[in-house]
């Protein structure tokens, strides 16, 4: 009877260990706090109508950022535990984590950082910026956009649900290599949680990628040919084409693993014909292009940042474009370098080793292009430019270690060592994460209407740069000394000092992230003074800068006619045309995205715990929702020319009113001391005047 109702769930599935109780309580308390605040501020309707069901890619982008930041902190907590454990657990001491717990932590860390932090930020940026850059009002399918976002959120929730139900996550490493991830060796639900979290968010990614491709190829402003597109849009296009090519591979592979676990098939088992090596082959066929999917938009961001802050157009547009296309093309043919040691032999290893080394060529073309852009530019060392400079050195060094690893003989020594761990963190942090930071600080004024605090931004950058090298430099050395990855304990006490240095580097990184949160808060406090009143704070060249800051929900009053590259620069030179008010069609809000994603979550949960009625009901529900949505004819509404004119004129009035007061704001960006004082004053006022009553 219990099985009919709740499948395999038992009372033991609920939290009963310090870590799961702690994790569950944290989420529950955060949730309760959020509910209380929103209720007291009476913002439920606003939250639902203006944000959760919004199809505005700008709002969806910001929601992606918020969830990704939250997961950054969650994944960061995992890393701190790893650093602590590895510094303590040497020789006779065994740290504070059991081996099994440690394995779950590094698995969750990998899944969260790749799927939910990096992909979240990248999708957020593409959503926000690409329509503005190509002169579109929205993406090709607003429905797929919101659906993709909520499927991502469903994945985020799924990867954390094990705290409440089940208590254990997968302990297989972030890719769940078979046969360890099969039922025989991972009998619990941990791997199932991993499969469904990745599967649900993976489908969201595929849908989002299709959406972006159609938008970029079919919805550019009239006159904007492909050769006139900004480089961030090019990077996004290449990345999304790769995504659409390889995410189906992930979907299929995860389904095969799921079938092995759920109905006892023998794809990757150790008996009856299963071939576990095929799993490794398939999963890396997805896994390697995935990291380039993350990297290409970052390349696009850096191209824009370098150009803007050197006040020069990119040295060679076509080198940048073909460099990015070249990287995407080759990225699809190198995946075996992740398993040189599995035994395919010299011929196979040689081919893939050579292809891996070849990728260094288009990448270097890009790097030299950026450096050539800086040459004889009039460089402004704002924070985005600092991120770029940090990136160039770090990424180049990381890339060189990559070429080292690409040699099969060297890889036989370094495979799965800490050298490898240091290499890929260099690429992902130095490349993707710092690219995201550069992009967010560059486009922040466009998103919010005010720029970020430069002073604290600089502190954060330096802490990140020094912290990163302190944390991962020792890992390169350790790897060469023979330390393997994923060690929860080691006997060689000579290694311990390196791990301790890495821990301090990690603390510095944690401080850096803290400073970035402080930076955002400080910018909010000073937002009047930091306001971007023109819409074009950095003298930009692409179309997003032609809109006011923050961009209105319809992006443009008139879709501009484009005649050249650097379209906005062209407009500034030739004169910006006056707005002509016409009716515009905008999509309505959509709640079915949330419902479908919620049902997808329940479907996954039903499969994990084998709750048959839940599986059936959720599946039917999803089909019904899809049918309701696709046969809904009333999906758009019209803003009349008169309304448009009224909104535009109101904004101008507000801006003028603000500008009249702006003479008083001549202070510098606040530093940490001023921020501390500001927060202290506010807290004292809050407590003294019992301001919680007025919410």
């Amino acid at each position: 009877m219990r099985e009919l109702l709740v499948g395999n769930l038992t009372w033991e599935s609920l939290p009963h260990e310090w870590s799961t109780i702690g994790g569950t309580l944290t989420f529950i308390l955060l949730g309760i706090f959020a509910v209380i605040v929103i209720t007291r501020m009476k913002r439920w309707k606003w939250l639902w109508n203006d944000w959760l069901t919004s199809v505005d890619p700008k709002k969806i982008g910001i929601m992606y950022f918020i969830v990704a930041t939250f997961m950054l902190l969650r994944g960061g907590l995992d890393v701190i535990m790893i650093w602590l454990q590895q510094s303590l657990s040497a020789g006779t001491s065994h740290g504070f984590l059991s081996a099994d717990h440690f394995q779950q932590i590094f698995t969750a860390h990998g899944n969260i950082m790749v799927f939910f932090v990096a992909m979240g930020f990248i999708f957020g940026l593409i959503n926000f910026i690409v329509p503005l850059q190509i002169g579109a009002r929205d993406l090709a399918s607003p429905f797929l956009n919101t659906l993709g976002f909520w499927l991502y959120v469903a994945g985020v929730i799924m990867v954390n649900t094990f705290f409440l139900f089940g208590g254990k996550y997968a302990a297989t490493g972030w890719l769940g290599i078979a046969p360890l991830s099969g039922t025989q060796f991972s009998p619990g639900v941990g791997v199932d949680y991993m499969i469904w979290a990745l599967q649900i968010s993976g489908i969201g990614t595929t849908l989002g990628a299709i959406n972006f491709i159609v938008t970029i190829l079919k919805m550019r402003a009239p006159g904007m040919k492909l050769r006139m597109m900004p480089l961030f849009t090019w990077g996004s296009l290449c990345s999304m084409v790769m995504a659409v090519t390889v995410f189906p591979l992930l979907t299929a592979t995860l389904f095969l693993l799921f079938f092995d676990r759920y109905i006892g098939t023998h794809f990757f088992t150790t008996t009856l014909g299963g071939n576990a090596m095929m799993y490794t082959n398939l999963i890396w066929m997805w896994g390697h292009p995935e990291v380039y999917i993350l990297m290409l938009p970052a390349f696009g961001i850096f191209s824009e940042v370098v150009s803007t802050y050197s006040r020069k157009s990119i040295a060679s547009y076509w080198s940048a474009v073909f460099g990015m296309i070249g990287v995407s093309f080759f990225a699809l043919s190198v995946w075996l370098h992740h398993f040189f040691t599995m035994g395919a032999g010299g011929d196979v290893n040689a081919f893939f080793g050579l292809m891996t080394m070849v990728i260094a060529i288009p990448t270097s073309v890009l790097v030299f292009n950026w450096i050539a852009t800086m040459y004889r530019g009039r460089i402004k060392f704002s924070t985005p430019m600092l991120w770029f400079l940090g990136f160039v050195g770090t990424f180049a060094i990381g890339g060189m270690t990559g070429v080292m690893l690409a040699q099969p003989p060297a890889d036989f020594q370094l495979h799965n060592s800490l050298f490898l761990v240091a290499h890929f963190h260099t690429m992902v942090i130095g490349g993707v994460i710092w690219g995201i930071f550069a992009g967010i600080s560059y486009w922040f004024p466009k998103m919010t209407g005010f720029r970020l605090n430069e002073r604290i931004g600089r502190y954060a950058f330096w802490c990140w740069l020094v912290g990163f090298w302190m944390a991962f430099g020792p890992l390169y050395v350790l790897g060469l000394m023979g330390a393997t990855r994923r060690l929860d304990h080691y006997d060689n006490l000579n290694w311990q000092p390196f791990f301790v240095v890495a821990l301090f580097g990690g603390i510095l990184i944690a401080i850096a992230v803290g400073l970035q949160l402080v930076q955002i808060a400080a910018s909010f406090i000073q937002k009047r003074q930091l306001a971007d009143n023109t819409g074009d704070p950095w003298d930009g060249r692409s179309l997003e800068w032609s809109t006011p800051s923050p961009a209105p929900f319809y992006n443009f009053v008139n879709i501009p006619k484009v005649t050249s590259r650097d379209a906005f620069l062209q407009m500034k030179n030739q004169g910006i045309p006056k707005p002509v008010y016409k009716d515009i069609t905008m999509p309505k809000t959509i709640s079915l995205g949330i419902y479908i994603a919620g049902l997808a979550f329940l479907l996954g949960f039903g499969f994990i715990w084998e709750i048959t009625w839940l599986i059936v009901v959720s599946a039917i529900g999803i089909v019904v929702c899809i049918v309701l949505r696709t046969f809904d004819e009333e999906t758009e509404y019209i803003i009349s020319a008169a309304e448009l004119e009224k909104m535009e004129k109101a904004r101008t009035q507000k801006l003028l009113a603000r500008l009249r007061h702006d003479d008083t704001y001549k202070d510098e960006d606040m530093g940490l001391r001023e921020f501390y004082k500001s927060v202290l004053t506010w807290s004292q006022d809050f407590v003294k005047n019992k301001r919680w009553k007025t919410f």
Binding site: A252, H266, N275
Partner: protein, 194 residues
Amino acid sequence: MSKPMNHEESVYDRTMFGFWVYLMTDLLMFAVLFAVYAVLNNSTAGGPTGRELFSPTAALTGTLLLLTSSFTCGLAMIAVRKGNKNQVLFWLTTTYIFGLAFLSLELIEFTKLIHEGHAPSSNAFMSSFFILVGTHGLHILIGLLWMVIIMAYVVSRGLTSNMMRKLALLSMYWHFLDIVWVFIFTIVYLRAFV
């Protein structure tokens, strides 16, 4: 870019293209299942091979049924362009019947195999066979469901431009499934006897 399209045309164009890209992702998913079948189809762990289990005649029958349904689907699309609602419903029903016949044959084959003890969990060859052919069958089932729903909407709302667009998507999907089947027929059923 050629002459600018009006709003309806551009929505149609974008939808067709977007759906085509989705079909490409589906094709890639099938590619993985084909790759897995190619690697594992000899791993019978001592059990029977395809030569002993498959009937080429049954497979040919199924293939011809599905091919016919793809053809009648094309005729339905011609009726759509002519705006002839009754013809559309007639040809779609024919497509449905042939598609259902194909799926039934397949289900009968699966049931027979499982009853004889050759289940997906028997060995790697059976696993890859059932999942490759089964996934195609699931796609057919979804297509049939889609056909019924669209026919219901055409009956109630008539052949509006929205409906025409959706019918175009369905026919693209249905032709695509027949194309995938050509490969399944060849690589699974015919190849077993090579």
